[in-house]
Structure formats: structure tokens, C-alpha cells
């Protein structure tokens, strides 16, 4: 089987996150964003540097999906959250019990794989 082409920048971040070295991109004006980027989405600056992502974030909002697209249909119910990691927000799948999750919950970052598609994605774990 032909292997999928890498998604430039995005797969680099996932590799780094798997090694426990997740990073974000900082611009000279102090804005944060996640790769892939050639310029800061907030101010347009092309001067971006890789900075270590904070160890943990807090859940800002989340949803438990009962009705999914085909690429997630065997995974329901599953939880997706947006978490605040300081310089950036991150969207990920939450690996926790539905009763456990709440706004303000502290989470750490890891990398998971969607066994239906083979795609990797960012995951959150309570900590």
C-alpha cells in the first residue's frame, strides 16, 4: 500500500508531540499559532519561531458527538474539546469518561490515531 504523503508542518507537530516535545509558532508580536504556517494568522508577520507548548491546558468548551461522519462512525460517542494552552488554543479528542469532562478541566496533550481512517490527531488527557 502506498503510504500517505505527509502533511507538511502538521505531521511535524504530531511527531514532536509524540516525543513529548509539542511546540507552537510564535511571531515577533507575541501571537501564537499552530503549524503549518508561513505567516502569523493574527498579524501577518512571516517571522515565526518554534516555542515549547505549555505542558497542560484547560478545556474552554467541548461537545459529545452522538451522530458522526463516516470517518468517526464507529467511535461514537466521542468528545471533542477546544483547550486553552496559553499562547494557543488546541482542538482535540478527549480521552476521558463523559462524566469526567468539564469546562476548566486541566488536560495534557498526546497523539492518537483514528483507526477508521489511519489519520493521527491531537488528543487530550485529564491531568
Amino acid at each position: 500500500m502506498r503510504s500517505k504523503p505527509r502533511d507538511d508542518g502538521y505531521d511535524d507537530l504530531l511527531d514532536a508531540a509524540e516525543a513529548g516535545e509539542a511546540y507552537y509558532l510564535a511571531c515577533e508580536n507575541g501571537h501564537g499559532s499552530l503549524p503549518p504556517r508561513r505567516s502569523c494568522p493574527h498579524c501577518g508577520s512571516p517571522e515565526l519561531s518554534e516555542e515549547p507548548l505549555p505542558e497542560s491546558g484547560t478545556v474552554e468548551t467541548y461537545t459529545t458527538t452522538q451522530i458522526a461522519a463516516p470517518s468517526f462512525s464507529a467511535k461514537t460517542p466521542y468528545m471533542t474539546a477546544v483547550a486553552d494552552f496559553g499562547p494557543v488554543r488546541v482542538t482535540g479528542i478527549v480521552r476521558a469518561d463523559p462524566e469526567e469532562i468539564s469546562v476548566g478541566m486541566r488536560v495534557g496533550l498526546a497523539v492518537g490515531r483514528n483507526t477508521m481512517t489511519g489519520n493521527r490527531m491531537l488528543t487530550f488527557h485529564p491531568r
Binding site: 458527538t65 482542538t91 482535540g92
Partner: protein
Amino acid sequence: MTTVRIAGADLTRFGSTPERTGRDLFAEAALGAREAAGISREEFDELTYGNFMGELAERQGHQGPIMAEAAGLDCPATRYEEACASAGVAVRAAVSAIRSGRADVVLAGGMERMTNQETEDTTEFLAIAADELYEVRAGMTFPGAYALMQRAYVQEFGGEREDFAHVAVKNHDHALPNEYAQYRSAITVEDHLDAPMISDPVGLYDSCPITDGAAALVLCSDEYAEEHAIDAPVAITGTGQGGDKMALQDRTHLNRTPATDRAAAEAYADAGITPDDVAAVEVHDCFTVAEVLALESLGFYEPGEAVSAARDGETTKEGSLPVNLSGGLKAKGHPVGATGASQIVEMNRLLTGTHPNSEYVDGGVGVTHNAGGTVASAVVHVLEVVA
């Protein structure tokens, strides 16, 4: 600058017609609008056409020329794609073409065919309006994205599920007499609260349906209407468009829609009106929280204040600002690439007294609001009775 008038308008009945092709749907709306305008085919300078998922749903790209043929026209035709705001940007392009002097008569509209595939496939197709790497791979669906926004809204501003239920109940009530609406059935707050969850806290009755349909408008310049004695009492006097970061995670707020703020400010300034002048509004209520966010960004309410508007009766047909008298996306239906044009068709009917809910419009200014994705795009139009 030339005034842009609505010379003719039509739409298909919205609903589930999986056997009908896209070109058949668009032809019905386009020919209806052309007949209402009474303008012959040689007079059309352009077709501006909105469609979102044609490559996926019908394996058909390059739909502009196909739809020109379907509409019986022989003119340049361009497809506009901006997720659920596709037809809104198509109408805006038509307005620009006429105002620039490049065109006198333009057919503007949109079509979406959505029920000819399984619901879960349609869910997948709709999800491509979100960021593939950072949202779709994390399991974000279209309802899921609005669920994230609704929870963030309630977290900061408060609001009960019952408040959102009242938005849905109102829009179903408004659709009852509308012969074009997909759902012409009343629902109760209890029905809403008892319905299954799709993506918590978005339930089945917070969500618009999957819909097939098309809408079309014949727009012409003031000069053309006068020269050819065309009866076109309503004009599009303002147009505005706003953009925002694609992914929710990159936005300043998860519970506000600045793309709509920007679109509204531009459209109001363009028309020389304020929110106080508006007699009726059609907003993009793909989910109940979307109506709430739209009303705040359009300047009718402060952030955090619109959630109770339907429950308090302010946005019902008898209220001070009737919202979605057509039934909205919630009950009229949401063929995504046709929605922005259909809102203008409905507002034109409301303002000309030919809509079954026209009696609830107290004034001559209407506003339509069409949003793309999680409002990374927004288009606002101002319609006015000018003569």
C-alpha cells in the same frame, strides 16, 4: 451609484427530492425568476451562482456554464463557493457587477442537492467547511462545531436549553403558512427538549434539516428598470461581507461572530441605515445558537442578550423585530449553496406583501444574513422598498 433592483425572484419548494438533479432544481427557480421579471434571454449579462458540495454530491465541478444552460441563458457564468454563504456571495457579486456599470441585468442564485446520499456522508461533506487538519481530524462535525460555540456562549453569558428551544419553536411556527418550507409542522418546547442529542448540547431540534433546493433572483440597474418599465419596487441598497479565522481555535472569542459584525457594519453604512430602521430580518439559523449569535452581531442585541429574545416574544411574528418569518433554515430548510439567495427571495416577498407572513412586517427595510461554516464568512444584505 446605481440602485440595484429585484426584477424577479423565485425558489423551488425546499425539501427532500433525491431524484431531482441540481440542474433541474436550478432551472425551476431560474426560469421562475426570469418569468417574473419578463426580461428576455439576450438581456442577461452574467450569471452568478452559489453551490457548495457539487463535486461531492453530483461529481460535478464547473457548474456555472451548466446552470446558465439550465436557466436558458447564453452569458458568462461563475460559481461562487463560500460554504453555506455561497449564494450570499453570489448575490453580492451580482450587485457589484451592476453597480460597476459592467452589467445591467444579472441572474443571481444558488442550488444545493443534499439528500441523494446517506445522511452520514452529507455530514462528512458539510464538515469540509471546517479546518481539515485541526478540526475535522479531531472529529468536528458541523453540529459539533456549533455545539462548541453554544457551550462557550452559555458558559460566559448563561442561557437555558429552553431558550434555544424557543428559537426553534418560533421558526417552525413561522414556516406554517410558507408553501416553500420543508417543515410545515409546529413543534413544542417539550418536543425540543425530548429530542435526541446530535452533538451535546446541540439536539435534533436545534439543527436545520438536510435539504434540496434552489433560489434565483433577476437583478437589474435602476436605469434598466426605468427604460424597460419593469416593476421592481424592492432594491438591494446595501451589501457587506466579513471574514474571520477559519478554525474556532484561532478566534479571539468562541462565542461571538465578528465576521457578521463586519458584514453588517459595511451593509448598514452602504445603505445608510441603522439596526433601528429594520422591520424584519432573515438570519442564518443553521443551529439555534447561530440565530442568537447573528442577532447580536447584527446589532439588534448586545453580546449575551439575544438568547432570550425568542422566549420573550421579541423575535416572534408578533414581536418588535420578527426574525425568520420564512421559517428560517431551521424549518424552511437549508440547501446550503442556495440559502443566501433564498433569504433574499423571501425578504422580497415579505416586503412586497406577497408572503403569507407579510402582515407582520411593519416597515420597508429588511435585512438578510448568510454565514459560511462557523461564521468564518458572513454576508449581509439590506433590502428596501424604494417605489
